[in-house]
Amino acid sequence: MIVTERLSKSFGKLQAVQDLDLRVEAGEVFGFLGPNGAGKTTTVRMLSGLIGPTSGRAWVAGCEVGKQDGDLRRKVGILTESPGLYDRLSAERNLGFFADLYEVSDIAVQVEHYLRLLGLWDRRHEPVGGFSKGMRQKLAIARAMLHEPQVVFLDEPTSALDPEAARLVREFIGELKQEGRAIFLCTHNLDEADRLCDRVAVFRTRLLALDTPAALRRQLFGRSVVFHLREIAPAYLACLQALPAVRAVEAVDRRLVVSLEDPERDNPRLIRALVEAGAEIQFVGELKRTLEDVYLRLLEQSDTGKPS
């Protein structure tokens, strides 16, 4: 659904996007993560036919970016960073206007469908200016879907929403995935990205990493086991470091954090070694690395010039 080949964009001397290569499939939720000013919005604007690339090529829903932008815009839906609604017009009129521009065949039916789906039907006649942030966000999401696009770009879709509405939107994104649409999700909510995305890309002008959240965690941190001990002694660290399965050991308070290839296989040997060294083990558990850990590690590596 989305393919880019060395896609780049510069504004004068400023390189906003550099040599981006990625592929997003139909029915995939793809997370595009990066700090502010990383070039995410520029990438989305290129891929939605709003601005042209400086070099490289990209295809979205079968249309080449920069060459078939009119057709491309018919096939993609976009939720921009700001909802961008006409405050003096009603919710229904806002959607009707955009449905007309997207050449939707049965405007009234589509507008009603999405207003009901996102819980705004009862407020359809009210001017949008009086809507809460969350309602505006939901209306903007409805607008992005009116023409049933094959590819949907969502920039911070749950940023202004209360937990209940955020959940509704996350479920909605799940439904879009089930329908076979490609979802390109830009978000700073890494927990949400972890839950929703099949794959994520961490991006800062160039691609820093791209894989499933689980694979990125494995690549960067391996798997870690935490041993809670009654007390820590240097001998405990030494006995673990002597084991070939152990990649690294770190003492934090009365805990030992041990990086392992395969905890299920190696844990019994580690426990035995610790007990034989005189350690009193209170608990053993796996340390769950978050996508936030992955993200911060990748940015740190990018800052220090280490390869990701």
């Binding site: 939605s48 601005i51 921009t80 961008g84 006409y86 009129r93 521009l101």
Partner: protein, 263 residues
């Protein structure tokens, strides 16, 4: 053409809910229609200006008064000044609407979702341009109609009545007016492509009235005489100017620069 109509309808349903815009659009036609009628009412019917003769009028203007009495010629002279002021309507009204309709899209951040639809730049600008120009043209024509009927109801003599719908007036109202509106819209689009505040756009675009005001004061001071041939030349000049301004305005309204440079 359908998308142009879609934009047009949206603009009108939104822009006219803005009281400032609505006030400007309504106030100017009312004022510019009422003033010449009041003038005609105050100066009265034939002879109302007393003993004025055509010889009292500027010689160049007196030549236009063939068939009119002295006081009718004087009345004709006064209301002809208003003909130029009528031309303010197709200049000022589109500036107000276009400034709010284009810069407003940017300040409310609605431009990006709008540009993300399959609408072309020409369709977008045509819709917004027509939404700004048509009310101005309609207001100008309507005001002129009210003025012409009002003059008749006030009992203005038949000679003067005929003069008020002569080719000069008709060319000015029905040809120069729309051409001025197009120039005004193009100018407003150009300004709006470079500023972020609707009021700044409106004020800068307001500079478009300067040539007309120069013409007005030139006529009042006797340096310029507004006649049929001058109005026709104005129309021709505006036609050429409009073509250039429109092309330049479309050129300036680049999606990419608007999205990336407008802050």
């Amino acid at each position: 053409m359908h998308k142009v109509a879609v934009i047009l309808r949206k603009e009108w349903s939104e822009v006219f809910k803005n009281r400032l815009v609505l006030g400007t659009v309504a106030f100017m036609p009312l004022m510019l229609t009422a003033l010449p009628l009041v003038l005609l009412g105050v100066t009265g019917t034939e002879g109302g200006l007393g003993d004025v003769g055509t010889s009292d009028m500027p010689a160049s203007f007196a030549r236009l008064c063939e068939g009119l009495s002295g006081s009718e010629c004087a009345q004709y002279f006064f209301v002809t000044e208003f003909l130029l002021l009528y031309m303010l309507m197709p200049l000022m009204i589109p500036v107000t609407i276009a400034a709010y309709s284009i810069v407003g899209e940017k300040s409310t951040r609605t431009l990006e979702p709008l540009l993300a639809t399959p609408i072309t730049t020409v369709e977008l600008l045509a819709g917004k341009g027509l939404a700004a120009a048509l009310p101005a043209i309609a207001a100008t024509w309507l005001s002129f109609g009210v003025f012409a009927v009002g003059a008749r109801l006030l009992g203005v003599g038949p000679g003067l009545q005929a003069k008020l719908v002569d080719p000069m007036w008709l060319t000015a109202i029905f040809l120069v007016g729309p051409l001025l509106a197009v120039a005004s819209v193009s100018f407003a689009v150009m300004i709006s492509s470079r500023v972020n505040e609707p009021r700044v756009a409106e004020q800068l675009s307001g500079l478009v009235v300067l040539p007309l005001m120069a013409l007005f004061f030139g006529q009042v001071s006797g340096l310029i005489l507004l006649n049929s041939s001058l109005v026709l030349w104005m129309a021709l000049g505006l036609l050429v100017l409009d073509a250039g301004l429109l092309a330049f305005a479309v050129q300036l309204f680049q999606r990419e620069s608007i999205l990336t440079r407008w802050k």
